[in-house]
Protein backbone atom coordinates (compact mmCIF):
# COMPACT_ATOMS: atom_id res chain seq x y z
CA UNK A 1 0.00 0.00 0.00
CA UNK A 2 1.61 3.22 -1.08
CA UNK A 3 0.79 6.85 -1.30
CA UNK A 4 2.73 9.29 -3.37
CA UNK A 5 2.28 12.94 -4.05
CA UNK A 6 4.16 15.03 -6.53
CA UNK A 7 3.71 18.71 -7.04
CA UNK A 8 4.81 18.99 -10.63
CA UNK A 9 3.50 15.99 -12.46
CA UNK A 10 2.28 16.07 -15.98
CA UNK A 11 -1.35 16.58 -16.68
CA UNK A 12 -2.68 14.76 -19.69
CA UNK A 13 -4.01 16.52 -22.69
CA UNK A 14 -7.33 14.79 -22.11
CA UNK A 15 -7.62 16.30 -18.68
CA UNK A 16 -7.12 19.71 -20.22
CA UNK A 17 -9.44 19.20 -23.18
CA UNK A 18 -12.18 17.85 -20.95
CA UNK A 19 -12.25 21.26 -19.37
CA UNK A 20 -11.28 23.69 -22.08
CA UNK A 21 -13.44 22.25 -24.84
CA UNK A 22 -16.15 20.33 -23.07
CA UNK A 23 -17.02 23.11 -20.67
CA UNK A 24 -17.14 26.85 -20.49
CA UNK A 25 -19.47 29.77 -20.72
CA UNK A 26 -21.21 30.26 -24.01
CA UNK A 27 -22.61 33.72 -24.61
CA UNK A 28 -25.14 34.35 -27.30
CA UNK A 29 -23.55 36.28 -30.14
CA UNK A 30 -22.19 35.88 -33.62
CA UNK A 31 -19.68 33.23 -32.70
CA UNK A 32 -17.92 32.10 -35.81
CA UNK A 33 -17.94 28.42 -34.98
CA UNK A 34 -21.01 26.68 -33.72
CA UNK A 35 -20.92 24.99 -30.36
CA UNK A 36 -22.25 21.82 -31.95
CA UNK A 37 -19.32 21.72 -34.35
CA UNK A 38 -16.78 21.95 -31.55
CA UNK A 39 -18.58 19.34 -29.49
CA UNK A 40 -18.77 16.87 -32.35
CA UNK A 41 -15.11 17.33 -33.20
CA UNK A 42 -14.23 17.01 -29.55
CA UNK A 43 -16.06 13.72 -29.18
CA UNK A 44 -14.20 12.19 -32.10
CA UNK A 45 -10.91 13.61 -30.95
CA UNK A 46 -11.43 12.32 -27.47
CA UNK A 47 -11.81 8.75 -28.67
CA UNK A 48 -8.56 9.06 -30.57
CA UNK A 49 -6.68 10.73 -27.72
CA UNK A 50 -8.02 8.28 -25.19
CA UNK A 51 -6.23 5.45 -26.95
CA UNK A 52 -3.08 7.55 -27.20
CA UNK A 53 -3.37 8.32 -23.52
CA UNK A 54 -3.76 4.67 -22.65
CA UNK A 55 -0.58 3.90 -24.55
CA UNK A 56 1.52 6.76 -23.32
CA UNK A 57 0.01 7.30 -19.87
CA UNK A 58 1.97 10.47 -19.43
CA UNK A 59 0.01 12.38 -22.03
CA UNK A 60 1.68 14.57 -24.58
CA UNK A 61 4.27 16.42 -22.59
CA UNK A 62 1.98 18.77 -20.79
CA UNK A 63 1.45 20.20 -17.41
CA UNK A 64 2.63 23.20 -15.52
CA UNK A 65 1.72 24.59 -12.19
CA UNK A 66 -0.57 21.69 -11.53
CA UNK A 67 -0.45 19.41 -8.59
CA UNK A 68 -1.27 15.84 -9.31
CA UNK A 69 -1.69 13.29 -6.61
CA UNK A 70 -1.56 9.56 -6.94
CA UNK A 71 -3.00 7.36 -4.27
CA UNK A 72 -2.66 3.61 -4.13
CA UNK A 73 -4.84 1.58 -1.88
Amino acid sequence: MTYSRTDEQEVTLLELLDRVIAHGVILAGDITISVADVDLIYLGLRVMLSSVDQAQQSGLGLGRDRRTEVLDG
Binding site: V25, G29, L62
Partner: protein, 301 residues
Protein backbone atom coordinates in the same frame (compact mmCIF):
# COMPACT_ATOMS: atom_id res chain seq x y z
CA UNK B 1 9.37 39.89 -24.57
CA UNK B 2 7.16 41.65 -22.10
CA UNK B 3 4.04 43.19 -23.45
CA UNK B 4 1.37 44.99 -21.56
CA UNK B 5 -2.27 44.50 -22.42
CA UNK B 6 -4.89 47.07 -23.14
CA UNK B 7 -7.99 47.83 -21.21
CA UNK B 8 -10.71 48.87 -23.56
CA UNK B 9 -14.01 50.45 -22.75
CA UNK B 10 -16.82 48.90 -24.68
CA UNK B 11 -19.52 51.48 -24.61
CA UNK B 12 -22.80 50.69 -26.34
CA UNK B 13 -23.15 52.57 -29.58
CA UNK B 14 -19.66 53.99 -29.36
CA UNK B 15 -18.54 55.33 -32.69
CA UNK B 16 -15.22 54.56 -34.32
CA UNK B 17 -14.51 50.96 -33.46
CA UNK B 18 -10.91 49.93 -33.46
CA UNK B 19 -9.01 48.93 -36.54
CA UNK B 20 -9.50 45.35 -35.55
CA UNK B 21 -13.18 45.54 -36.32
CA UNK B 22 -12.44 45.97 -39.98
CA UNK B 23 -13.92 42.59 -40.83
CA UNK B 24 -10.86 40.39 -41.01
CA UNK B 25 -10.34 40.07 -37.26
CA UNK B 26 -12.45 38.74 -34.47
CA UNK B 27 -12.49 38.83 -30.71
CA UNK B 28 -11.38 35.61 -29.09
CA UNK B 29 -12.98 35.30 -25.65
CA UNK B 30 -11.01 33.57 -22.88
CA UNK B 31 -13.38 34.35 -20.09
CA UNK B 32 -15.31 36.93 -18.12
CA UNK B 33 -14.26 38.52 -14.88
CA UNK B 34 -15.04 41.50 -12.67
CA UNK B 35 -13.98 44.81 -14.10
CA UNK B 36 -12.64 45.68 -10.62
CA UNK B 37 -10.54 48.81 -10.41
CA UNK B 38 -8.43 49.91 -13.39
CA UNK B 39 -5.19 49.21 -11.52
CA UNK B 40 -6.29 45.79 -10.37
CA UNK B 41 -7.54 44.92 -13.82
CA UNK B 42 -4.33 46.12 -15.40
CA UNK B 43 -2.40 43.76 -13.14
CA UNK B 44 -4.71 40.94 -14.10
CA UNK B 45 -4.17 41.62 -17.78
CA UNK B 46 -0.41 41.87 -17.41
CA UNK B 47 -0.39 38.61 -15.55
CA UNK B 48 -2.46 36.97 -18.27
CA UNK B 49 -0.23 38.47 -20.92
CA UNK B 50 2.83 36.85 -19.37
CA UNK B 51 1.05 33.52 -19.33
CA UNK B 52 -0.11 33.64 -22.93
CA UNK B 53 1.91 31.98 -25.62
CA UNK B 54 2.73 34.65 -28.20
CA UNK B 55 1.11 33.83 -31.50
CA UNK B 56 -0.93 30.95 -30.21
CA UNK B 57 -4.26 32.57 -29.57
CA UNK B 58 -3.65 35.90 -31.17
CA UNK B 59 -1.87 39.00 -30.03
CA UNK B 60 -2.29 41.07 -26.91
CA UNK B 61 -4.55 39.91 -24.16
CA UNK B 62 -6.98 42.69 -23.47
CA UNK B 63 -9.85 43.50 -21.19
CA UNK B 64 -13.03 44.69 -22.76
CA UNK B 65 -15.00 46.45 -20.05
CA UNK B 66 -18.75 46.45 -20.05
CA UNK B 67 -20.35 47.76 -16.89
CA UNK B 68 -19.08 45.72 -13.97
CA UNK B 69 -17.73 42.99 -16.23
CA UNK B 70 -14.53 42.62 -18.18
CA UNK B 71 -14.21 40.23 -21.08
CA UNK B 72 -10.67 38.88 -21.38
CA UNK B 73 -10.00 38.79 -25.09
CA UNK B 74 -7.41 38.64 -27.85
CA UNK B 75 -7.81 39.77 -31.41
CA UNK B 76 -7.45 36.91 -33.86
CA UNK B 77 -7.66 36.54 -37.63
CA UNK B 78 -11.15 35.36 -38.53
CA UNK B 79 -9.63 33.24 -41.29
CA UNK B 80 -8.13 30.98 -38.62
CA UNK B 81 -11.38 30.64 -36.75
CA UNK B 82 -14.13 30.27 -39.29
CA UNK B 83 -16.06 27.06 -39.16
CA UNK B 84 -14.08 25.26 -41.85
CA UNK B 85 -10.63 26.36 -40.74
CA UNK B 86 -11.20 25.63 -37.08
CA UNK B 87 -12.83 22.30 -37.88
CA UNK B 88 -9.75 21.24 -39.81
CA UNK B 89 -7.27 22.56 -37.26
CA UNK B 90 -9.03 20.88 -34.36
CA UNK B 91 -7.88 17.60 -35.87
CA UNK B 92 -4.27 18.76 -35.67
CA UNK B 93 -3.35 17.51 -32.21
CA UNK B 94 -0.15 19.55 -31.97
CA UNK B 95 -1.98 22.76 -32.83
CA UNK B 96 -4.86 21.92 -30.55
CA UNK B 97 -2.46 21.18 -27.71
CA UNK B 98 -0.76 24.55 -28.06
CA UNK B 99 -4.05 26.39 -28.35
CA UNK B 100 -5.66 24.61 -25.46
CA UNK B 101 -2.73 25.38 -23.20
CA UNK B 102 -2.65 29.00 -24.31
CA UNK B 103 -6.38 29.27 -23.63
CA UNK B 104 -5.95 27.71 -20.21
CA UNK B 105 -2.84 29.74 -19.35
CA UNK B 106 -4.63 33.04 -19.80
CA UNK B 107 -7.66 31.89 -17.83
CA UNK B 108 -5.50 30.42 -15.07
CA UNK B 109 -3.50 33.63 -14.75
CA UNK B 110 -6.68 35.60 -14.15
CA UNK B 111 -8.06 32.88 -11.91
CA UNK B 112 -5.04 33.21 -9.62
CA UNK B 113 -5.99 36.80 -8.93
CA UNK B 114 -9.78 36.89 -9.11
CA UNK B 115 -12.78 34.86 -10.15
CA UNK B 116 -13.23 34.18 -13.84
CA UNK B 117 -15.87 32.40 -15.87
CA UNK B 118 -13.90 30.46 -18.48
CA UNK B 119 -15.35 30.72 -21.95
CA UNK B 120 -15.75 27.70 -24.13
CA UNK B 121 -12.69 27.12 -26.30
CA UNK B 122 -13.06 28.65 -29.75
CA UNK B 123 -15.52 31.42 -28.90
CA UNK B 124 -14.82 34.19 -31.38
CA UNK B 125 -17.03 37.22 -31.79
CA UNK B 126 -17.25 39.20 -34.97
CA UNK B 127 -17.10 42.61 -33.36
CA UNK B 128 -16.62 44.42 -30.10
CA UNK B 129 -20.27 45.46 -30.18
CA UNK B 130 -21.39 41.87 -30.65
CA UNK B 131 -19.44 40.71 -27.61
CA UNK B 132 -20.50 43.75 -25.62
CA UNK B 133 -24.16 43.10 -26.39
CA UNK B 134 -23.77 39.47 -25.33
CA UNK B 135 -22.30 40.64 -22.02
CA UNK B 136 -25.11 43.15 -21.54
CA UNK B 137 -27.75 40.50 -22.06
CA UNK B 138 -26.32 38.24 -19.37
CA UNK B 139 -24.67 40.79 -17.05
CA UNK B 140 -26.73 40.09 -13.95
CA UNK B 141 -26.40 36.35 -14.16
CA UNK B 142 -22.70 36.49 -15.02
CA UNK B 143 -22.07 38.62 -11.94
CA UNK B 144 -23.98 36.11 -9.83
CA UNK B 145 -21.87 33.29 -11.27
CA UNK B 146 -18.66 35.18 -10.51
CA UNK B 147 -19.82 35.72 -6.97
CA UNK B 148 -20.63 32.01 -6.59
CA UNK B 149 -17.20 30.94 -7.85
CA UNK B 150 -15.13 33.52 -5.95
CA UNK B 151 -12.31 31.85 -4.02
CA UNK B 152 -13.01 28.43 -5.49
CA UNK B 153 -10.97 26.01 -7.58
CA UNK B 154 -11.90 22.96 -9.56
CA UNK B 155 -10.25 19.67 -8.71
CA UNK B 156 -10.39 16.59 -10.90
CA UNK B 157 -10.81 13.29 -9.10
CA UNK B 158 -10.25 9.88 -10.65
CA UNK B 159 -10.68 6.48 -9.06
CA UNK B 160 -9.31 3.33 -10.64
CA UNK B 161 -9.89 -0.27 -9.65
CA UNK B 162 -8.09 -3.46 -10.52
CA UNK B 163 -11.17 -5.52 -11.33
CA UNK B 164 -9.43 -8.86 -10.86
CA UNK B 165 -8.32 -7.92 -7.35
CA UNK B 166 -11.75 -6.62 -6.40
CA UNK B 167 -13.36 -9.72 -7.91
CA UNK B 168 -11.19 -11.98 -5.82
CA UNK B 169 -12.19 -10.16 -2.66
CA UNK B 170 -15.88 -10.00 -3.48
CA UNK B 171 -16.33 -13.58 -4.63
CA UNK B 172 -14.42 -15.05 -1.72
CA UNK B 173 -16.50 -13.17 0.85
CA UNK B 174 -19.94 -13.31 -0.73
CA UNK B 175 -22.23 -15.82 1.11
CA UNK B 176 -24.70 -16.29 -1.75
CA UNK B 177 -21.93 -17.02 -4.20
CA UNK B 178 -20.36 -19.48 -1.80
CA UNK B 179 -23.68 -21.30 -1.45
CA UNK B 180 -23.92 -21.53 -5.21
CA UNK B 181 -20.42 -22.98 -5.42
CA UNK B 182 -21.32 -25.55 -2.79
CA UNK B 183 -24.40 -26.45 -4.81
CA UNK B 184 -22.33 -26.85 -7.96
CA UNK B 185 -19.88 -29.16 -6.23
CA UNK B 186 -22.59 -31.73 -5.57
CA UNK B 187 -24.80 -31.19 -8.63
CA UNK B 188 -25.08 -33.52 -11.59
CA UNK B 189 -23.12 -32.44 -14.70
CA UNK B 190 -26.11 -30.97 -16.55
CA UNK B 191 -27.36 -28.96 -13.63
CA UNK B 192 -23.81 -28.03 -12.67
CA UNK B 193 -23.34 -26.49 -16.11
CA UNK B 194 -26.34 -24.20 -15.71
CA UNK B 195 -25.41 -23.36 -12.14
CA UNK B 196 -21.91 -22.51 -13.30
CA UNK B 197 -23.33 -20.05 -15.80
CA UNK B 198 -25.55 -18.60 -13.11
CA UNK B 199 -22.56 -18.29 -10.81
CA UNK B 200 -20.54 -16.45 -13.45
CA UNK B 201 -23.37 -13.97 -13.97
CA UNK B 202 -23.89 -13.39 -10.27
CA UNK B 203 -20.17 -12.98 -9.69
CA UNK B 204 -20.00 -10.32 -12.39
CA UNK B 205 -23.03 -8.54 -10.94
CA UNK B 206 -21.57 -8.68 -7.43
CA UNK B 207 -18.30 -7.18 -8.65
CA UNK B 208 -20.16 -4.45 -10.55
CA UNK B 209 -22.11 -3.63 -7.40
CA UNK B 210 -18.93 -3.55 -5.34
CA UNK B 211 -17.25 -1.17 -7.78
CA UNK B 212 -20.25 1.15 -7.72
CA UNK B 213 -20.22 1.09 -3.93
CA UNK B 214 -16.50 1.84 -3.80
CA UNK B 215 -16.96 4.87 -6.05
CA UNK B 216 -20.04 5.98 -4.13
CA UNK B 217 -18.21 5.64 -0.84
CA UNK B 218 -15.34 7.86 -1.97
CA UNK B 219 -17.50 10.60 -3.46
CA UNK B 220 -19.76 10.55 -0.41
CA UNK B 221 -16.76 11.28 1.77
CA UNK B 222 -15.69 14.17 -0.44
CA UNK B 223 -19.06 15.85 -0.92
CA UNK B 224 -19.04 17.67 2.44
CA UNK B 225 -15.92 19.56 1.35
CA UNK B 226 -17.24 20.54 -2.07
CA UNK B 227 -19.62 23.32 -3.00
CA UNK B 228 -20.58 21.37 -6.08
CA UNK B 229 -19.75 18.05 -7.70
CA UNK B 230 -19.99 17.05 -11.34
CA UNK B 231 -19.69 13.34 -11.97
CA UNK B 232 -18.95 12.12 -15.45
CA UNK B 233 -19.46 8.69 -16.87
CA UNK B 234 -16.09 6.97 -16.82
CA UNK B 235 -17.27 4.25 -19.18
CA UNK B 236 -16.62 6.61 -22.07
CA UNK B 237 -12.95 5.87 -21.58
CA UNK B 238 -10.53 4.95 -18.88
CA UNK B 239 -8.14 7.85 -19.00
CA UNK B 240 -5.06 7.29 -16.93
CA UNK B 241 -5.87 3.66 -16.15
CA UNK B 242 -2.82 1.45 -15.84
CA UNK B 243 -2.70 -2.19 -16.89
CA UNK B 244 -5.93 -3.99 -16.08
CA UNK B 245 -7.39 -1.08 -14.15
CA UNK B 246 -10.73 0.40 -14.98
CA UNK B 247 -11.79 3.90 -14.10
CA UNK B 248 -14.76 3.73 -11.75
CA UNK B 249 -15.11 7.38 -10.80
CA UNK B 250 -14.41 10.57 -12.68
CA UNK B 251 -15.58 13.74 -11.00
CA UNK B 252 -14.93 17.45 -10.82
CA UNK B 253 -15.23 19.10 -7.43
CA UNK B 254 -15.69 22.79 -6.75
CA UNK B 255 -13.60 23.45 -3.66
CA UNK B 256 -13.15 26.58 -1.62
CA UNK B 257 -9.43 27.19 -1.30
CA UNK B 258 -9.61 27.04 2.48
CA UNK B 259 -10.96 23.46 2.16
CA UNK B 260 -8.46 22.25 -0.40
CA UNK B 261 -6.06 20.43 1.89
CA UNK B 262 -8.73 18.80 4.00
CA UNK B 263 -10.48 17.54 0.85
CA UNK B 264 -7.25 16.11 -0.52
CA UNK B 265 -6.48 14.47 2.80
CA UNK B 266 -9.95 12.95 2.88
CA UNK B 267 -9.48 11.63 -0.63
CA UNK B 268 -6.22 10.06 0.41
CA UNK B 269 -7.81 8.50 3.46
CA UNK B 270 -10.72 7.13 1.44
CA UNK B 271 -8.44 5.33 -0.99
CA UNK B 272 -5.69 4.11 1.28
CA UNK B 273 -6.49 0.79 2.85
CA UNK B 274 -8.63 -0.47 -0.01
CA UNK B 275 -6.61 -3.05 -1.89
CA UNK B 276 -7.06 -2.82 -5.66
CA UNK B 277 -8.06 0.82 -5.59
CA UNK B 278 -6.03 3.77 -6.83
CA UNK B 279 -6.92 7.43 -6.80
CA UNK B 280 -5.56 10.40 -8.72
CA UNK B 281 -6.36 14.07 -8.60
CA UNK B 282 -5.29 17.16 -10.47
CA UNK B 283 -5.77 20.80 -9.75
CA UNK B 284 -6.29 23.52 -8.94
CA UNK B 285 -8.06 24.33 -12.21
CA UNK B 286 -10.17 27.35 -13.03
CA UNK B 287 -13.81 26.32 -12.56
CA UNK B 288 -14.42 25.08 -16.10
CA UNK B 289 -16.90 22.40 -15.11
CA UNK B 290 -18.98 24.69 -12.94
CA UNK B 291 -19.88 27.51 -15.23
CA UNK B 292 -23.38 27.22 -16.50
CA UNK B 293 -24.23 26.44 -20.07
CA UNK B 294 -27.57 27.49 -21.50
CA UNK B 295 -28.68 23.97 -22.37
CA UNK B 296 -28.19 22.82 -18.79
CA UNK B 297 -30.93 25.10 -17.62
CA UNK B 298 -29.36 25.39 -14.17
CA UNK B 299 -28.24 28.95 -14.75
CA UNK B 300 -29.33 30.09 -18.12
CA UNK B 301 -26.71 32.50 -19.38
Amino acid sequence: MTRSGNILAAQPGRAGESLTDAGSSGWYLYGITHAATPDALRQVIESAQHAAMPGATGELVQALIRGELAAIVSIVPLADFDSTALGERLNDVAWLQEMAWAHNAVIAAVHERQAILPAKFGSVYLSRDDLGAALDDAQERLLAELSRLQGCDEWAIHLYADRAVIEQQVTSEHPALQRLRDEISVARPGRAYFLQRKLAGEEAAAVDDALVELARGVITRLRPYALDVVQENPTAGSDGAVGDEIEILRAALLIERKNQDVMLNEFEASVLGVVGLRGASSGPWPPYSFVARPEEGRHDL
